[in-house]
């Protein structure tokens, strides 16, 4: 039997993989997509409005398994086989790294936070502005049309805000601000910080045959109506409609295969069900397994051509790891709302408003730190009265107090980028292999002092905002969440024009291996103060159209 050669092998089905599959299939290319876990049915496999009392452990999860949980999204409300628990990773001494991986088809797009701000020239030209690191190899003008197309495709609700750090896009009507947002907005005004509707990929009206959001607040456990963007709801059906897609699930990629010229010729994967290794072949390969996993696959793809990992002649593969610092910069309550009836605050998992970067805008070195961060506020009537820790006592008084405080709690997380550093990177652990015999990735990461300065700054500003809003601060976390927690890691395959310093060119095509492309956040030079998903989608769209051109020109056989 002659072996099948696909046009493109796509490794991963998250934001980048999903967009690649859709774009390439619609261009008539035959695609085989590999996903390391199972396929889910988003209309059936998610929480679907089940209440806590409909869960065996009321949402707390089986205590005997709690230690293995990644926390938040990895919970009792989503089914088995969605989060990766079988494949390990290691951390260098002193590194704390939390690495939740969704291995169901669609990856983290099933559960993402949906905030969707564009990167801008303030990000792409940051090095010119403040002298740190290097500029991106492209301008905002080049990528802007791709953002517009992605926004029209997935639907992003927001307003035009004219912020120097945040280019505006093409938006659906915004989510409406809640009581707590109005109060905090007034406070932020007094402090001189912006408080605006977030850019949120949530359908405030029906869009491209996807129904409008029904504002149930279920989002983080997966949407059962497809009213926010995810690969299974938005991209996979379009790709499958073309008849050009073969999706292989439970396929854990070991390495990228190379031909006698050192070019990519396919991938070797382990079938989770049979534990057999399988090889498949393609004229081009897209790696879109997420920043750290993509680096692991490429570093594990050693051959006589690529002894340090495929496309790694620069030695930069796996280096330059950046991440967003997240954490509780302050939680408290708004006394104005004490004793008021409950409000529908939890209509989108609390993602309604944001405080987009306002630091270092006029002068890039105005603050003690360079670059900038954003804040995501939240609060109001939630699923559980967590604020009860702050109310003492028992009996009728406690019951009444919990009811009185129920609409009042507010909190916020910072979203602060780490700076590129030589000491933050991933490599392959020389000693440890996973259950399939594949060497595991080892993470080396510490927060830098710039990010820690932002953390302190954000705590101060947020306390001022709360005070100026008439609110009371209960406390803040002493330390941020561990790195990895935000799921916004970037940088392991950075793009740049100089092939000695960067893994890919400005289109995400690796310098060394012209038929190998990278379509995830690993190509970003840093993580900026914005979330990564919409940028992964926009950059992937651009990369794939570039690749399609290369196919047309015959560059990929």
């Amino acid at each position: 039997m002659p072996k099948t050669v696909y046009d493109v092998i796509v490794i991963g089905t998250g934001a980048g993989g999903g967009m690649a599959i859709k774009t390439l299939c619609e261009a008539g290319l035959k695609v085989c997509a590999l996903n390391s876990g199972r396929r889910i049915n988003p209309a059936r496999d998610f929480r679907n409005h089940r209440m806590p009392y409909e869960m065996k452990y009321r949402g707390f999860g089986d205590p005997r398994k709690r230690a293995q949980s990644y926390g938040y999204m990895d919970n009792e409300y989503v089914g088995e086989g969605i989060w990766e628990h079988g494949i390990t990773y290691t951390t260098a001494p002193g590194t704390e790294w939390m690495w939740p991986r969704c291995h169901a088809v669609g990856g983290k797009t099933n559960f993402w936070g949906r905030s969707s701000a564009r990167f801008g020239d303030i990000d792409f030209r940051a090095a010119t502005l403040d002298g740190y690191d290097v500029d991106w190899p492209m301008t905002y003008e080049e990528i802007a049309p791709y953002y517009s197309r992605v926004e029209k495709m997935i639907g992003v609700a927001s307003t035009v805000q004219n912020r120097p750090s945040n280019p505006d896009g093409e938006y659906l009507p915004p989510m409406k601000l809640r009581c707590l947002d109005h109060i905090l907005q007034r406070g932020a005004e007094k402090v001189g910080a912006p408080y605006l509707p977030d850019r949120i990929a949530q359908l405030t009206r029906s869009h491209n045959d996807h129904p409008a959001c029904h504002f149930c607040g279920n989002c983080t456990d997966g949407c059962d109506t497809g009213s926010f963007f995810s690969t299974p709801w938005f991209l996979l059906p379009l790709a499958e409609k073309t008849g050009n897609l073969e999706l292989r699930t439970n396929a854990v990629v070991r390495s990228i295969l190379v031909d006698e010229n050192g070019r990519a010729k396919g991938a070797a994967y382990i079938d989770r069900d049979t534990r057999q290794e399988v090889e498949i072949y393609g004229r081009a390969v897209v790696v879109a397994a997420s920043c750290v996993e993509s680096a692991r696959i490429m570093l594990n793809s050693k051959s006589r051509f690529w002894p340090a990992g495929i496309a790694n002649s620069s030695g930069q593969l796996g280096r330059n790891l950046c991440d967003h610092m997240y954490g509780d910069i302050g939680h408290g309550y708004l006394p104005q709302l004490l004793g008021q009836p409950s409000f529908p605050d939890n209509v989108s998992d609390s993602t309604i408003a944001w405080m987009p970067r306002w630091q270092n805008l006029k002068n890039p070195r105005e603050e003690k730190f360079i670059r900038g961060y954003s804040i995501y506020p939240g609060g109001g009537c939630g699923e559980f009265p967590w604020f009860q820790h702050h109310l003492e006592g028992f009996g009728s008084e406690l019951k009444r107090n919990i009811k009185r405080y129920y609409p009042t709690p507010v909190g916020a997380t910072i979203q602060a980028p780490s700076l590129r550093s030589d000491t933050n990177y991933v490599d392959i652990d020389p000693e440890v292999k996973d259950i399939y015999g594949i060497p595991v990735v080892r993470v080396h990461f510490q927060w830098d002092s710039n990010t820690l300065q932002m953390w302190e700054h954000a705590k101060q500003v947020w306390a001022e905002v709360l005070r100026a809003s008439g609110g009371e601060l209960w406390g803040a976390a002493e330390h941020s969440e561990p790195p990895g927690y935000s799921l916004h890691e970037t940088g392991t395959c950075r793009m740049g024009n100089d092939l000695r310093k960067f893994v890919t060119n400005r289109f995400g095509q690796t310098h060394d291996v012209p038929n190998l492309y990278v379509c995830d956040a690993s190509v970003f030079l840093c993580c900026t103060d914005k979330t990564t998903t919409i940028s992964i989608l926009a950059f992937t769209l651009r990369t794939c159209e570039y690749m399609i051109e290369n196919f047309r020109h015959g560059s990929h056989g």
């Binding site: 869960m55 707390f60 949980s69 409406k176 809640r178 109060i183 149930c216 003492e392 028992f394 019951k399």
Partner: protein, 203 residues
């Protein structure tokens, strides 16, 4: 109790982290949790509950304790929500809690017996309330009752967990989530962005 203190701090740390996480956009889940075992979750409540972990005396004491923490006082309390059953189930499911609950209930009995010559359950309602007041309010704390305070805090935590994840508890909060709204709901107080002229507090 050397090990116990450590463990308790760890639980509190996890809960505090989770509590904070509940405020983060996108990160609503306040409890760290994991694999889903939903089927069988909605078992009908038997008329007579048979505790899985606690012995009959412990269970009766626990039931009383949860009722004191969240009484039926015109609106439903721990009793109507079946909180003691939830606590029994969670303690049975979680070996790290078992000693702490068993020791804590024994502490309450020994303490009540010292003060009033009777087990906690057999003490009068006023005596029970008085015992708890010294464990619950900072300005009423007494030296030597540290273990009792730690237990009260743990029991309160699990009582509230059980109550506010139950149907009656969520109804009492008037939890607004998981409903269907035709459009983004938003603030109903137009013209009063600072919310300084709200109707009189209802609660």
């Amino acid at each position: 109790m050397a090990g116990q203190g450590m463990e308790r701090r760890e639980v509190l740390r996890v809960m505090a982290l989770a509590a904070a996480a509940s405020q983060f956009p996108g990160f609503r889940r306040w409890a760290f949790a994991c694999d889903h075992l939903a089927d069988g979750a909605l078992q009908p409540r038997p008329a007579q509950y048979t505790p899985q972990f606690f012995n009959p005396h412990e269970y009766a004491s626990l039931e009383r304790l949860t009722e004191l923490i969240l009484p039926s006082d015109g609106s439903p309390g721990a009793n109507e929500a079946g909180v003691s059953e939830f606590v029994d189930f969670m303690v049975w499911s979680d070996p790290s809690l078992q000693y702490r609950f068993r020791y804590g209930l024994a502490w309450l009995d020994a303490h009540a017996s010292n003060l009033h010559g009777k087990a906690f359950l057999d003490s009068g309602a006023d005596q029970q309330t008085s015992i708890l007041e010294h464990l619950a309010y900072k300005d009423r704390y007494r030296q030597g009752e540290e273990d009792g305070r730690a237990f009260f805090s743990l029991a309160r935590e699990y009582t509230l967990m059980g109550f506010y994840t139950s149907k009656v508890g969520l109804e009492q909060l008037d939890f607004p989530g998981f409903k269907f709204y035709a459009e983004s709901p938003g603030c109903p107080h137009g013209g009063d962005p600072e919310h300084l002229h709200l109707p009189r507090p209802k609660y």
